[in-house]
């Protein structure tokens, strides 16, 4: 074979490889989040693992109604049989101490993406994110913990819109998120890390959108554990009893601000407390005397 012929063959080969590369490249540099992911807790450890303290509403853009729900909340509510195996809402589920699995469903003949599916180890909660452009159900359709989710690409980020959520919580100390809320979730893959930015819009309990990010690390060796949940009678109560604190009668609300030297007014939360400039305002606020030993009913 002559030099020109060899060069032409190499050119054709290079073109073929280039075209093949183009064919497998996803549109608009979408970063497929499929895989096994392990949670990273970092600064969120206190809130996500032992759980938030009673009366800690700091940084939450809540209204007075949400605040009273939190003040009235009695942790004994969780031990009622009908609440024991209740899953987190999909907007909160990322926060659980959960391993995460994401996989995709494609149409076999066309290889077009139909949906992403997620599985979180806590409660075995699963969510389907429809990528095929289907509409959301009508308002009279059932709501679920996962809600109904559709996804689209914004650059390389997967953006999920979720409606039809059941009531759940913003913070696991009784601060609620209503069933009229919607969530927009941005799944951002960067190297071996996944950042999930959840934005909750709740016309019932929030005065402005609530934004929270959660991080995961790629964990291909991860095994997903099952989450069997069986209801048991933990406390013998008459049917229909609903534990709650009467208005103004929750004795634990001062513990959090006293333990951490935070002004009680600030602990009450509200949109203002989510912004850095609030730190200046806090300087002039009254604080409770700190106990010699931390007291907690968490």
């Amino acid at each position: 074979m002559g030099g020109i012929a060899r060069a032409r063959l190499l050119s054709i080969g290079a073109l073929f490889v280039f075209q093949a590369a183009l064919m497998v490249r996803p549109a608009a540099a979408q970063l497929d989040p499929s895989g096994m992911w392990a949670p990273r807790f970092d600064e969120d450890w206190e809130e996500r693992i032992p759980g938030p303290e009673i009366g800690d509403y700091l940084g939450l853009p809540i209204n007075a109604a949400a605040r009273l729900r939190g003040d009235s909340w009695d942790a004994a509510l969780v031990e009622l049989p009908e609440n024991q195996c209740r899953a987190h809402g999909s907007d909160y589920g990322w926060r659980g101490p959960s391993n995460l699995s994401i996989w995709k469903e494609v149409d076999r003949p066309t290889q077009k993406l139909i949906a992403y599916h997620t599985h979180l180890s806590a409660y075995g909660a699963e969510q389907t994110i429809w990528m095929d452009g289907r509409p959301h159900p009508p308002e009279y359709a059932a709501h679920t913990w996962a809600g109904f989710s559709t996804g689209e690409w914004d650059g390389d980020a997967l953006v999920i819109t979720t409606t039809h959520l059941k009531e759940n919580w913003i913070r696991r100390n009784g601060i609620p998120r209503s069933d009229l809320a919607t969530a927009r979730v941005h799944v951002l893959k960067h190297g071996n890390y996944l950042t999930v930015a959840v934005i909750v819009y709740d016309p019932v309990y929030l005065t402005e959108p609530f934004v929270r990010t959660t991080d995961f690390a790629f964990a291909p060796q991860q095994q997903m554990a099952p989450w069997p949940c069986e209801v048991v009678d933990e406390v013998d109560r008459p049917a229909g009893v609903v534990p709650s604190h009467l208005i103004g009668a929750n004795p634990f609300l001062d513990e959090f601000p006293a333990n951490y030297g935070i002004p009680p007014e600030a602990a009450r939360g509200g949109a203002e407390t989510a912004y850095p400039e609030y730190m200046l305002k806090m300087k002039d606020m009254k604080r409770l005397p700190r106990p010699a030993k931390k007291v907690t009913n968490r």
């Binding site: 059932a142 913990w145 953006v159 951002l188 930015a197």
Partner: protein, 350 residues
Amino acid sequence: MTAMGRKTSRSVRMRFAVWTLSAALVPFCTAVSTARAQQSSSQAPSAPPARDYSKAEVHILPVQGNIYMLVGAGGNITAQVGNDGVLLVDTGVTQMSDKVLAAVRSLSDKPIRYIINTHMHADHTGGNEPIAKAGSTIAGGNVVGDIGASAGNQATVLAFQNVLDRMSAPTGQQAPTPQGAWPTETYTTPERKLFFDGEGIQVIHIPEAHTDGDSIVFFRRSDVISTGDIFVTTGYPLVDLQHGGNIQGVIAGLNKIVELAIPADEQEGGTMIIPGHGRLCDVADVVFYQEMVTIIRDRIQDMIKKGMTLEQVKAAKPTLDYDPRYGSTTGFWTTDKFVEAVYKSLAPKQ
């Protein structure tokens, strides 16, 4: 690697890190600003449109098993469809009867055999007469002997006895509803059982709840409960004191629904619940509602024990935390009326 090489490499890595961070944050920041804009638009006040049934549509939602939920005709309607025919729980408002019938015909060409009324209000019984007349009852033996062949000319309308009492009137007095809309069969026991379309059906009376004639209907094989207005997703429970309602009965009814229903995994699904108004639910939704009503009842009960008057109770805002979801300051059933009904249900009778 030379010092220069290490520096270049570190610089490239740093630039890459900055680029990666920026790329990650840009859509996030955009999302935040978009989110704020959308939140403010979603909170813009809007007056509810006036109810014009001439333009209303009946929507059909398959539930599970033999059961469908018909939405848009006033109160929700439950349709059970099978080989034996059609059974309806409630019939919506009168004006929507033709559309309800058309929706039923789209599900089955079999005759409408039964209508069960959960209570006497017109948004649940308004279609009784035209829809019952479009159906038929399999009648024979003594029934035909006593009543004649006309016994089979319409669907059977079943309800608790008090529904008939409220819709009719003693002889010589003006009845509030036409005779053709009245129940044709009543029960006075705690429960009435049927077997239709291949499944057992429990019609369970809930005493003194939304009214004094409430029934919930449990389709046992389909695993669906139709609750009437003891459970709604659209507001606080309407306690019709004038017609024998009481908040304690509403709570007892909600507790009964929770007792009957069995959720599937994660306390979700399993038994499905069709509320009197609002969206399709499961027992987890009922539990949230039952907790809300019970907590408000407990608060008002405590205030009554402290000797507070109705006006003082209203001023204490015992429903404040649930008002943005269930409350109303306008319309027929306001938050004030709900608090008043709870107070009057609980206060010692004078």
